[in-house]
Symmetry: C2
Subunit: 403 residues, 2 copies
């Protein structure tokens, strides 16, 4: 009869609510009468008693909408628990657990969220609390270790691939030489930018050049790559991770920090795409455009992959089962059984081995010249972007669930 | 047995190829054996004999793909014919008509393209050429006069509405005060930015503030509007046309031109969204993000509206029928018979009355305070974004037709 409390943390994704859906459905089925409580704005809101009873408030119809609603229904936070487990924050949280009769704690998020799960489960162990703590992976960055991939990546990858494919068509309508630079999320890991490789329809199709943070980016080599690309087509599309850096470790987006002020003297933040745009325009004198895919790559419900939605839901559901069966301090992870036909299984991994780690894009999938992604990545990524959910529409637009 | 030549001109849209599809289908049906020739890169390519025989090269399967493929299958140009009809360009074009046995000329485009149709039809009249010239409207800007709306607008409006709805969800996940500024295409007409109004799901939902070029934009009033918006929610989403300007007529995007240089001293182009981002950050000290919807608003096949696709196809088909029936110097236009139920009819309008005109967003649909769109616009716009085509997918991504 214990209740389950669940929260969402870190940046939005298209499927973080599908994990919430999966957890609610599973706990309603297996939780022997306990309720699912939602933390509003993650652990930060929980500290101020901000919770809602999801078992009470969400109808079956709401749940189906929730499954397809992007971003974070419960709201999110970027709150890091103190390293020092003797901090007074911990007893405050655990007092709340008692007050709300919580037996199970699920946290849907990325690296930092797994750190929260790790600390709370260690504190619970120290204090012999019976509350069980399970992490549900979520990040478009796909940078969590010990799992084949993370929920959220497949939908973001599908957004990037479909969108870049359309950008390529758009960029190719004029005869005039042009360069289109697409900046894709990923500070340290290039998984999502690599997904732009999926946009290429045939040998010799754009995007010709793809640069990840895992390979050093040098301007002179870039100019050389562009010159080679112009041999193939007057219209060159380049995809770059926001976090590309030169061999010395300086981010390309830092190349302009000193001088970029608006007319009132305000410092303006610039992405690497915009910086490269001005460099290329100056160097080649051709038409250049930079496109920042921005937040829609992480919150597009309209382009979400069905595989990703179903896997996110499964991760939530498996998290509930793990907690109910007595596991704690674990994250739900995916193991790939086979790529063709695609088949994964769920398992739990120690959350302490996952938080504060970062899974880089594999070097063997970056071509030797450093500006393309090899075919090996296709077999890995293609299964993750498959399928479209049956969308719920209203007045020509997606109907989503609002809190 | 005369052939038809058809071209695409100006910026891409999601449905310019649907008009091409409609024209090919209609001419194959009614053209008594003539072929459809496609100009590669519009009239500019035609001048260099760059045409392909579409009747020969496109299979039925290709045509179905073409209907759903965004951007411009034939390529485009931004070539303006000389004002002086005695220029040697005209006989060159008409010699090509003779050489290729052309009886009908269709041009799919916006204002400038209608100017091309106008000049060619006037030259034909002067020289007693039997070739007939028909314009097929196309522009996401929706700024052509004498037609209820233009093919391309409905799909772009749907993209804007759906995307802003998702941006609103994304912007609302954190408790911290934030401003998200979405910059939408439209230099002189605010139709497309107004479509962001459709993203608002309920009274009091974002986007709170919408600014069009048709109303003067003043920084102080904007700050005041923002302060009012913060009374309603900590997260404020603002939608602006790229072409907003102050009462003196200065574009907001010009406010930073003087000082915005990168560290190598290159001048960088900036949109008004980015300018406002830095102003708001400085004024309010809150988290601010600007998002430029960029080319995807005009080339997203994945979010195209079925109504728009079908109407674009109909415009192409009606253009063929008009030409075959002997009309020339005309544009296919839509007249709205009813908004509910939605019903339009096609007619022809003198292209000379359309080119070099611009249909502004109606003042009565801008609220008195100048920062919102009134409900009257909803009845106009909602029918245009309805319906989803049955998409042709491959490997989880849209399958498009490549030349």
């Amino acid at each position: 009869m214990k209740n389950l409390v669940i929260g969402q943390s870190g940046g939005p994704t298209a499927v973080i609510n599908a994990s919430l859906y999966g957890a609610i459905k599973a706990f309603n089925e297996y939780g022997t009468g306990g309720h699912v409580l939602g933390m509003i704005n993650g652990i930060e809101g929980f500290l101020s008693d901000e919770v809602i009873d999801l078992t009470e408030t969400l109808s079956d119809e709401d749940l189906e909408l929730l499954k397809l609603t992007p971003a974070a229904y419960l709201g999110s936070c970027r709150y890091k628990l103190p390293e020092d487990l003797t901090s007074e924050v911990y007893p405050a949280i655990f007092d709340n657990f008692k007050k709300m009769d919580i037996g199970y704690f699920l946290y849907i998020g990325g690296n930092d969220s797994m750190d929260t799960v790790d600390k709370l489960s260690r504190y619970a162990k120290n204090t012999e609390s019976p509350v069980r703590f399970i992490g549900i992976p979520k990040t478009i960055d796909n940078d969590l270790v010990l799992t084949d991939h993370t929920p959220g990546f497949g939908s973001a990858a599908r957004y990037v691939a479909a969108t870049v494919r359309e950008i390529v068509l758009d960029a190719s309508v004029y005869q005039q030489k042009s360069v289109t630079i697409v900046e894709i999320m990923g500070r340290h890991a290039g998984w999502l930018t690599a997904a732009s490789r999926l946009a290429r329809k045939f040998e010799g199709d754009n995007p010709f050049l793809i640069y990840l943070p895992e390979a050093p980016f040098e301007l002179e080599a870039f100019y050389h790559d562009l010159e080679e690309a112009f041999q193939k087509s007057p219209n060159v599309v380049v995809c770059v991770s926001e976090g590309i850096a030169d061999a010395g470790g300086t981010f390309i987006c830092e190349y302009s920090d000193a001088a970029k002020l608006d007319s009132f003297g305000h410092k303006m933040l610039t992405g690497c795409g915009e910086i490269l745009e001005s460099f290329v325009r100056d160097k080649f004198g051709v038409k250049v455009r930079s496109i920042e895919l921005n937040v829609n790559q992480r919150c597009s419900g309209m382009l979400a992959s069905l595989t990703d939605i179903e896997e996110a839901s499964m991760a939530g559901s498996e998290g509930v089962k793990a907690a109910l069966s007595g596991e704690t301090g674990k994250m739900i992870a995916f193991a790939r059984e086979s790529s063709s036909p695609y088949r994964i299984s769920c398992r739990t991994q120690d959350v302490g081995l996952i938080c504060n780690q970062e899974k880089k894009f594999p070097a063997q999938w970056i071509t030797e010249d450093g500006h393309d992604i090899s075919d090996g990545f296709l077999a890995y990524a293609l299964p993750l972007i498959q399928g479209e959910p049956k969308r719920i529409m209203e007045d020509g637009l997606p109907k989503y669930l609002y809190r």
